[in-house]
Amino acid sequence: MTPVATPFFFYLLTAIMIIGGVLVITRKNAVHSALALISTLLAQAGLYLMLYAPFVAGVQIILYAGGIMVLFLFVIMLINLERSIRERQFNKQWLIGIVAAAALGGLFIAVYAKGKTLFPAGRVTYAEAQNTQGVASLLYDPHTGIYMFSFEIASLLLLVAIIGAVVMAKKRI
């Protein structure tokens, strides 16, 4: 069985992501931006598939494309679009923009030039048929679960965010 992770798919998905990402900031209509963002997120799920991480890809679709973006759209629809279209789309912050772009670009070029020595050549990949179980054993297994602590810290962060949302939304608790 030949691998599907050919360079063609990588370039296709990356092109979708880049075009979608550019459209997100250049479209004046917020709903169009949200739809472009959805296509970007779906292409990202495709990239996870190429990295032999189907579980992460599924979670990406279910959470970002399915859940969060629906809430985005829900909020955007309640905005007065005609007024928001008349508003200024870009802030003139050339200096900070150039610095940020140069920093990020420099990082990318550094990774591109030295990437081969920066990252380990091989990593543990789980076969497609065992991927979910592999994720679980990395998280919870008493012997191989090395990411348990960071996972729990992240969930604590989410808990804080939920409590914060409740506190901010409700005036009297």
């Binding site: 709903v31 189907p54 679709i61 991927n131």
Partner: protein, 439 residues
């Protein structure tokens, strides 16, 4: 050419995997076409059945004009929809208006990639099967929301807002019910309250794996840890009606308040895409319920009534079903009015009955019988759910929106959480009790 034939034959020799798992593109394509055709026929049949059954529940006749007993009504309707003028509101957002039905249809059809009609009768088996189904079917709400927004009209907008709120709310309860069923796949013990004892203690998300876990444990998950599995199943059965925007949760398209909700401004072909998507989504969520709780393709009582005699008894069911349908056709043929105007209809109905009888007879052939048994039981279980959908629509009045939210967040969600936690506790306690005591 010889290599091609060899390639095609190579899958037939490996008898125990899906074409996707075997990596055979030809057979995967054949299965995709078959599933697509079967789904289209099922949607057409559902259209006719829903009208007829609803009509009979309300002591009406339903469609009677086009074809005998209105059998050709769906085809007439489809032709009408294709020929209808395609209207777009003047201020509508053209591109999004055009995209929305496509998103809904794609989401509704893509999930059938992992639906297991049998241990080998699925397009493919994914390790993340159920996650894939839930994820892709949750994308359809995007189509509904954008359809309502792009119409640039008030009723569709209200319908879309209601729909997104409703689908997000019920996805939570649905997800919790699904998680407690997935938890049960990791308990390898046999029987109603059996836990542990297996070679490994890992569960699975794969659709085929979930059914195989029920086979191994010898119990449908609806009855596992009675009544925990049953409660989870009921939560899912309620949430899936809300997820597909069907009565009594059809608030996004409540015709008495919102004309037709999110698809008010759609007509012709695009409207028919929404219709197609709604019915295939109903079939998709029903097949999730069947796979997770009702044993998927397994026939009833595979353990209690086992042995070659019972296998034979249950394997003639598909043929008998088709013969019964044929008998109904012949009975109606005999009762057709004896007027020259009805001659063509009478012949047509008799011919339809003959085709059904022929299919029934073919299903009695031992080789065919062994291969279609699993597909038949899966489809029969899904069909029961489809009947329930029509029954709900005929009997329950529509909920008010605040009642809908209350049911979702204040009743289904807490019960779902409780069932999930209790299932986990039952699994751990049972596992510890089954371990040998160490002193």
């Amino acid at each position: 050419m010889g290599a091609l034939i060899q390639y095609i034959e190579s899958y037939l020799k490996t008898n125990d995997v899906t074409p996707g798992a075997a990596g055979n593109i030809f057979w995967a394509f054949v299965y995709i076409v078959l599933v697509f055709l079967g789904l289209s026929v099922a949607v057409i049949a559902m259209n006719w059945l829903e009208r007829k059954i609803l009509a009979h529940m309300q002591v009406r006749l339903g469609p009677m004009r086009v074809g005998p007993h209105g059998l050709l009504q769906p085809i007439a309707d489809a032709l009408k929809l294709l020929l209808k003028e395609d209207i777009m509101p003047a201020e509508a957002d053209g591109f999004v208006f055009w995209m929305a039905p496509l998103i809904v249809v794609l989401a509704a059809f893509t999930v059938f990639v992992v639906v297991p009609f049998g241990p080998t009768h699925a397009i493919t088996d994914m390790n993340i099967g159920i996650l894939f189904m839930l994820g892709v079917s949750s994308l359809s709400v995007l189509g509904i929301v954008t359809a309502g927004w792009a119409s640039n009209s008030h009723y569709p907008m209200m319908g879309a807002l209601r729909s997104s709120a409703q689908m997000i709310s019920y996805e939570v309860a649905m997800g919790l019910a699904v998680v407690s069923a997935i938890l049960m796949t990791s308990l390898h013990g046999p029987g109603l309250y059996g836990v542990g004892g297996g070679a490994s203690d890992t569960g699975t998300l794969s659709m085929i794996g979930i059914v195989q876990a029920q086979q191994e444990q010898g119990v449908w998950f609806a009855f596992k840890f009675f009544p925990l599995g049953l409660v989870a199943f009921f939560i899912f059965a309620i949430a899936m009606v809300a997820e597909t925007n069907r009565a009594p949760f059809d608030l996004p398209e409540a015709e008495s308040e919102l004309t037709a909700g999110f698809h008010t401004e759609y007509s012709g072909f695009r409207w028919s895409l929404f219709f197609l998507a709604e019915y295939s989504a109903m079939i998709a969520v029903s097949s999730i319920a069947v796979t997770l709780w009702l044993g998927g393709w397994l026939r009833p009582f595979p353990n209690l009534l086992s042995g070659p005699t019972w296998d034979l008894v249950f394997s003639v069911f598909p043929g008998i079903t088709f013969l019964a349908l044929a008998a109904m056709c012949f009975y109606s043929t005999a009762r057709m009015p004896k007027h020259p105007l009805f001659k063509i209809q009478t012949i047509g109905l008799g011919g339809f009955g003959a085709v059904l009888a022929l299919i029934g007879l073919i299903l009695f052939v031992p080789q065919v019988r062994d291969r279609v048994g699993d597909i038949f039981w899966f489809c029969a279980k899904v069909a029961a759910f489809m009947y329930l959908y029509i029954w709900y629509r005929g009997t329950f009045p529509r909920y008010r929106f605040d009642q809908l939210m209350k049911v979702g967040w204040k009743i289904l969600l807490p019960i779902g959480l409780a069932v999930f936690i209790l299932t986990a506790i039952a699994g751990i306690v049972g596992f510890l009790m089954s371990q040998p005591v160490l002193h």
